[in-house]
Amino acid sequence: MLKIDDVTMQFGGVVAVNGFTAQIDEGQIVGLIGPNGAGKTTVFNVITGVYSPTKGRILYGPDLNEDITGKRSDQITNLGICRTFQNIRLFKELSVMDNVFIGNHLRLKSGLLSSLLRLPHYRKEEAEAYEKASYLLKKVGLYEEREEKAYSLPYGMQRRLEIARALATEPKLLLLDEPAAGMNPQETQDLMEFIVEIKDEFNLTIFLIEHHMDFVMGICEHIYVLDHGMMISQGNPSQVQTDQRVIEAYLGVE
């Protein structure tokens, strides 16, 4: 599904990610963990085209035959990779419904003119988009709030709205940047179930960054650990948990 091949990302003299290699197979839930400032979000930014890597390649597709290195974000999303943001980036002044509706815009086939004249095939597409958005909002439990402005939602709801918006782009690979940040244990538990549910329903592959260890250990089949931009460990949850280097990275060396 996705292969990150020896990617290095340098900002001036700072090496944020250093020779990172990872592979995600279709249908997996893969985790990316590491202490603050380890370069996790940078990996997401490189995958989604926010940054172009200094070195290395990103390959995507069922046979990994699509080189998406350095492509524009919108092109990458069009190919089926969508993300959420660590610091929540909703369209704040727009309604909850519009946020999700906009997620569908890239799938729109009608041109500007037919949208303006509201030609029948545009109206049909628009109706379908609203139907899809309503379905997704019900899915994340925000349908009742559809008329509210996005900024007025409480934090946890904003996170769920971001996921609904990402799903509206019809992704195959979903990147979640700290989806459980700021959630209490019960909410975290619900979120885990929710992620597994949408994964099955929409045939998703999921790559996520998270700090809640219970969350990562409970949901991910495979985990990569980054520290200071370098991969220091990988494996299944129990392997990673017992890896001495991981413990040192988190607790520091005496």
């Binding site: 900002f11 979000t41 930014n45 926010v50 943001f85």
Partner: protein, 297 residues
């Protein structure tokens, strides 16, 4: 073109470039700290020129004192402008502040029309400065020689001030990282006032010399030089004082030499700066000496 003619254009270009540089410094210093295009800066320049005009014609103060007092008063005006039009907007989106700045610019222009009158006025040039020198066939106005000298002297003083004094250091700290610097106990409001004072002072000095070299005063006289000097600051890399000076000289010399070599383009003289701006923004958006920045995601 004879060598003498070329030298003449060179001198003219250098003095125009010096004037642009003086005004551009005000843009670049304000932008460096507040990330704000002080749209009214060109009109501050106009006010400085008019203050000198009235000082010479309507007060008994000798002209050389007027030439010092007018910039000081203009500096105060710049400082007050910041307090009234920009300070209440601090923390608003940049576009909102820019609109306020545009409003301030129109306010000053129309205030000028109201108080000074819309008709052009002739700048009273002190006799001693109103001479033309001829050196081996090249004849130049005395003022064209004086302008670069005064500009360089002011630049040296400014450079010393910014590099060596405590206030200058605080300025650099604010420009580098506004939030951190403000947490370090720097008196932000004081520093911003000083920056506006210095920028407006230099603009007024430029304005007076402008008045002597091109002695026609109009309330809208600041608009085009204002835009051009902002462009000079962008070309050099906005926020960077050396860059502003460099940009000013490139623009001044370029403009004069362009029409000297291609007289057909005389009508397009004012377009030169804008074309240069767009080229620079496309090729090197941060300007010649600017640093690269990117938004955190």
């Amino acid at each position: 073109m004879s060598l003498a003619e070329f030298m003449q254009h060179l001198v003219n270009g250098t003095s125009l470039g010096s004037l642009y540089a003086l005004i551009a410094i005000g843009y670049t210093m304000v932008y460096g700290i507040l990330r704000l295009i002080n749209f009214a800066h060109g009109d501050i320049f106009m006010m400085g020129t008019y203050l000198a005009y009235y000082g010479i014609l309507f007060t008994p103060i000798p002209w050389y004192l007027v030439f010092i007092l007018a910039p000081l008063l203009t500096g105060l005006l710049g400082l007050v402008l910041e307090k009234l039009a920009y300070k209440p907007m601090r923390g608003s989106p940049r576009i909102t502040i820019l609109i306020s700045a545009i409003g301030a610019s129109f306010l000053l222009q129309n205030f000028g029309i109201l108080v000074f009158g819309g008709r052009p006025k002739a700048f009273p040039i002190p006799g001693i400065l109103d001479t033309t020198l001829t050196v081996s066939g090249v004849s130049v106005d005395l003022i064209s020689i004086i302008i670069p000298i005064i500009t360089i002297a002011l630049l040296v003083i400014l450079n010393f001030f910014i590099k060596k004094t405590k206030t200058g250091m605080a300025m650099r700290a604010l420009a580098k990282d506004f939030e951190t610097a403000s947490l370090m106990g720097i008196n932000i409001n004081g520093i911003i006032s000083i920056v506006f004072f210095i920028g407006s002072f230099l603009a007024a000095v430029g304005g007076i010399m402008w008045g002597i070299k091109y002695p026609q005063l109009m309330p809208t006289m600041g608009v085009v030089p204002g835009l051009k000097c902002f462009i000079a600051a962008v070309i050099g890399g906005i926020g960077n004082i050396t860059g502003a000076v460099l940009g000013g000289f490139i623009l001044g010399l370029g403009e004069i030499l362009l029409i000297a070599f291609l007289p057909n383009l005389t009508g397009y003289r004012d377009a030169f700066a804008f074309v240069l701006l767009i080229v620079i923004l496309l090729v090197r958006p941060t300007g010649l000496l600017g640093e690269k920045t990117s938004e955190k995601v």
